[in-house]
């Protein structure tokens, strides 16, 4: 079992590695921004898979870590721009949590570029597409995550 995973990892290491990225987007701004990118037919890589939450404040750092454990190579957190939170302050709280989490991940040796945060408003379809492109490229560059992934060796 252990071996097969390693083989898999090696296989993934190849150029054609397609990172699995989880995006947590808030319902009001960034999810709407992503929808706008869609209605405007802006193209971006398909690696990001979105999980919709009501507010970026809902994103418990455990979600992020758990995503890395369960097989995400990267995580993107999207919220409303500061001051625009539908719930007034959820994004501000998320921003603090994110700052600490990112530092901590870096500190234990997990590339912090795997966990990103962005502000995308409902009108920023273009920005959303750009951010996804940027993040996907970066994580593709970093290769598959080796550290936190659950081996599930059973």
């Amino acid at each position: 079992m252990m071996q097969t995973t390693q083989v898999e990892v090696k296989k993934k290491m190849k150029k054609d590695f397609e990172p699995n990225i989880i995006g947590f987007l808030c319902n009001w701004c960034s999810y709407a921004g992503a929808d706008l990118a869609g209605t405007s037919r802006m193209q971006y890589p398909p690696n990001l898979k979105v999980i919709r939450v009501m507010c970026s404040g809902r994103i418990n750092p455990i979600f992020v870590i758990n995503a890395l454990q369960q097989g995400a190579d990267g995580v993107l957190i999207g919220g409303c721009h500061p001051g625009d939170c539908h719930y007034e302050r959820g994004n501000y709280l998320a921003r603090r949590r994110y700052a600490i989490l990112r530092e901590l991940l870096d500190y234990v040796g997990i590339d912090p570029r795997r966990v990103r945060m962005t502000w995308v408003s409902a009108s920023e379809g273009k920005k959303f597409a750009d951010v996804v492109k940027e993040v996907t490229d970066e994580i593709r560059e970093l290769g598959p995550i080796q550290q936190l992934k659950r081996e599930n060796t059973w």
Partner: protein, 327 residues
């Protein structure tokens, strides 16, 4: 250091009061350099109290550990105060608990000990691995004087001190009802040298360092139980649905456990170092805690456990908090 007679007298006075349930302090341990927590309900029991450079435990952990069995019909809640002997770092834990409103200020009587540093039990046992008989340890200037088998030995303080004590910024309890002895002023500044060195290393090296440490973790959770601020009724790792972290002991889960523990103490950890002291597997937990302590100081100008009025770090924000890495 503290005049033990004064300490005992103070405790005796307290336990004789009707509104005080008991006082928590230290007494001589069962062997070598051990000191053990002690609960004095009566003046006689207060006689056992000591304070020496070996008193490393942070007794404030007992504040939230007190078991309150459900009241029987007609029974009234015991609202008597609990007395507690605290050093500088311990007091910060108390402040933090009070700040989180875990306890009411009036439910405590705090006996503050201006602290000149305590001895790291790991360091001293390495020096005297076979010491069985309890040892008297005194502080004399920059040295500790140990009386072993009637003979005195002088050891430079630096060799025995806890690392945390060398950089302690709050040696005098920030909160107290009684202060035993004169205030100790600190000119030290936490420089986070070790942290900064590690921060600068390559990701790979950092991961190697930590994964080796976390691999040792047996998930006994001693670090959690000894921590005065880990007082959740049901820790996430004990919950079944959802399983936040799997119970399997392996690198992935261990890492997550250690990260989450540290994260849950962000802006709360008092820096007492008990977690690391309790960890049987010598995992450098302080290096995780201090990292967060440093970050929040730099990013949010936040210091835990010094201000009773402060709001929890992660429950508030400033509109101009850092945006550095946000896309």
């Amino acid at each position: 250091m503290v005049n033990e007679k004064q300490l005992r007298d103070e405790v005796k006075k307290l336990v004789s009061r009707d509104d005080v349930k008991y006082v928590i302090g230290y007494e001589q341990g069962t062997y070598g350099f051990q000191v053990t927590p002690s609960f004095a309900f009566t003046p006689e029991e207060a006689e056992r109290f000591i304070f020496s450079p070996l008193c490393a435990n942070n007794l404030s952990v007992y504040l939230m550990l007190e078991e309150k069995p459900p009241l029987r019909k007609g029974e009234k809640e015991d609202t008597r105060k609990v007395g507690l002997v605290v050093k500088g770092c311990d007091a910060r834990a108390v402040v933090q608990i009070l700040q989180e409103k875990g306890l009411k200020r009036e439910s405590l009587v705090i006996i503050g000990v201006p602290c000149t540093g305590v001895i790291d039990p790991k360091k001293i046992t390495v020096k005297f691995p076979h010491q069985i008989k309890p040892v008297d340890v005194r502080e004399e200037g920059n040295h500790y004087v140990l009386t072993i088998n009637g003979k005195n030995q002088k050891i430079p303080k630096d060799e025995l001190l806890f690392e945390k004590c060398k950089q302690c910024e709050y040696p005098t309890p920030v909160i107290h009802d009684v202060l035993l002895g004169d205030e100790v002023k600190s000119t030290k500044k936490e420089e986070y040298k070790e942290i900064k060195t590690l921060e600068k290393k390559a990701l790979k090296e950092k991961w190697e360092f930590w994964s080796k440490a976390f691999d040792r973790c047996i998930r006994c959770y001693a670090c959690r139980n000894v921590c005065p601020l880990c007082y959740c009724k049901e820790c996430i790792v004990d919950q079944l649905s959802p399983q936040w972290i799997y119970r399997s002991v392996n690198r992935s889960e261990n890492t997550v456990w250690n990260l989450i523990r540290a994260y849950h103490l962000a802006g709360r950890c008092s820096g007492c170092g008990e977690c690391e002291r309790a960890c049987p597997m010598n995992i450098p937990l302080t290096m995780l805690n201090k990292k967060i302590e440093k970050d929040i100081k730099e990013l949010f100008q936040y210091v835990a456990g010094v201000n009773l009025e402060e709001k929890p770090l992660l429950a508030m924000f400033k509109p101009n908090d850092t945006e550095d890495t946000i896309l």
